[in-house]
């Protein structure tokens, strides 16, 4: 099932794979965010979902918010607020998902795209190409509360956090693993990274965990983050927020 060629969903056994399709930057505009959230909702509704993972085609995993779309609007501030709200909802959806989640960072992951990867339980990353890059400091964009919380919870080491976010360091997979930001660096191409992520996800699915238990434990493990996103998604019905 493809959603406007923005993302595709397939099942491999108990693993649900969401792929951001096409060779572009997979910029997070409301359309793509909505497509991803629909895909995640479908996984949530699926009775035997063992694990979810998110990957991307092409050179980019996700290069952040669609700033060009924001600038093209009558009120760019409203447009960026809309994208932030949608990402906040997606983070809530992922935190509340009754199945383990893996991000397969198959290419560059920048800014909000890097945050999206970190919102998963585990991250595998392509070793040979692609950077993690929190480019906000270079792009002169401030970091809002829930996003700061996401970074603080998922990158607890003060030095790693400073170098990633305050210094805007471009980190390779090896560097990111060394600093404890991602779990595994995988050699080879996009396909190899996807295969490694599927294998990891299958391993998690094979544990036969009760999905609701996974979701409750996850929310309890990151309580400050859950508190800041829970009214925007997850179990709560989606409410439009500015």
């Amino acid at each position: 099932m493809a959603t406007k060629d923005l993302c595709s969903v397939e099942k491999r056994g108990r693993v649900h794979l969401i792929t951001l399709t096409g060779a572009g930057e997979h910029r997070l505009n409301p359309t793509l965010l909505s497509a991803i959230r629909s895909a995640v909702a479908a996984v949530r509704a699926s009775p035997d979902a063992g694990a979810l993972f998110l990957a991307a085609e092409g050179k980019f995993f996700c290069n952040g918010y669609d700033l060009a779309w924001a600038r093209a609007g009558a009120s760019p501030a409203d447009r960026i607020a809309a994208m932030r709200a949608a990402l906040r909802g997606l983070v809530a959806d992922l935190l509340a998902l009754p199945a383990p989640t893996v991000a397969a960072v198959t290419g560059h992951a920048a800014a909000a795209g890097c945050g999206l990867a970190l919102a998963h339980d585990a991250v595998v990353m392509r070793a040979s190409r692609g950077f993690l890059y929190m480019g906000e400091v270079d792009a002169r964009i401030k970091i809002v509360d829930f996003f700061g919380e996401l970074i603080r919870q998922k990158v607890p080491d003060a030095v790693a956090r400073r170098d990633l976010v305050m210094k805007g360091e471009k980190m390779t997979a090896a560097e990111a693993v060394r600093r404890g930001i991602v779990d595994k660096a995988v050699d080879g191409g996009v396909g190899d990274v996807v295969d490694a992520a599927v294998a990891m996800a299958e391993g998690l699915a094979a544990r036969g965990w009760n999905g609701e238990t996974v979701a409750e434990i996850r929310k309890a493990a990151w309580p400050d983050l859950w508190r800041k996103v829970k009214d925007h998604g997850g179990e709560a019905p989606a409410r439009p927020r500015l």
Binding site: P76, A77, I80, R84, V144, G148, M166
Partner: protein, 242 residues
Amino acid sequence: MCTLEQRGRVFVLTLTGDDEHRLSHALIASIRSSVASVAAAAASAGPGTALVTVGEGRFFSNGLDNIWAGTSRERLQGLVDALSPLAADLFALPMPTIAAITGHAAAGGFLLALCHDYRIMRGDRGVLYMSEVDIGLPLPPYFVSVLRSKITAANALRDVTLRGRKLKAAEAKEMGIVDAVCPGPAETAAEAIKLAEQLAARKWDGNVYASIRMSIFPEACRSIGIVEESDEEKRKHFASRL
């Protein structure tokens, strides 16, 4: 007490004299005045500046002026209260900050170093030391908040606060407390200025940089009385930079 000079895009604040640079009311006021000058100069200098704080002699700073305070709890509390706004000045400063730890940094002096974004330290002499447990003084709440924000490895935090461990530069680097170790004080200062120049060359918008710093360390900022901007204010900023 302290001098301020500008070398290109880098401001250098020097704690002068071969004494302990005890943080008395006078020295704290003097440093605050210099830091305020730096902030003002940055506003007119435009994007791409940095601050280096360096000490002359055998001490970076041996902490609050306990000698003057003697047994007077009021005097001691007064000094504790006076240091907090200086910490706030540094956490809010619209440019990257580097402490060139050219000698011992103990208690309030160690805290002063931690209030900077980066720390370069001489390896031949000098220790970082939170002496409060040995002296029998409780740690002021904002000290704890800053320590917890900057020293995130649990064992490192324990060793520093609960064991009163005296850290040489190499150990401090392993613990993630210091970023680089240099042979002696001259090299330490030079390395700090070199790093400052590299960071200044990134031409970061100071206001955005400070905002991002605050979003990374919100608890420390709250403890020293900095109120972070709301998401709404950050949203307006996005629009205003177009």
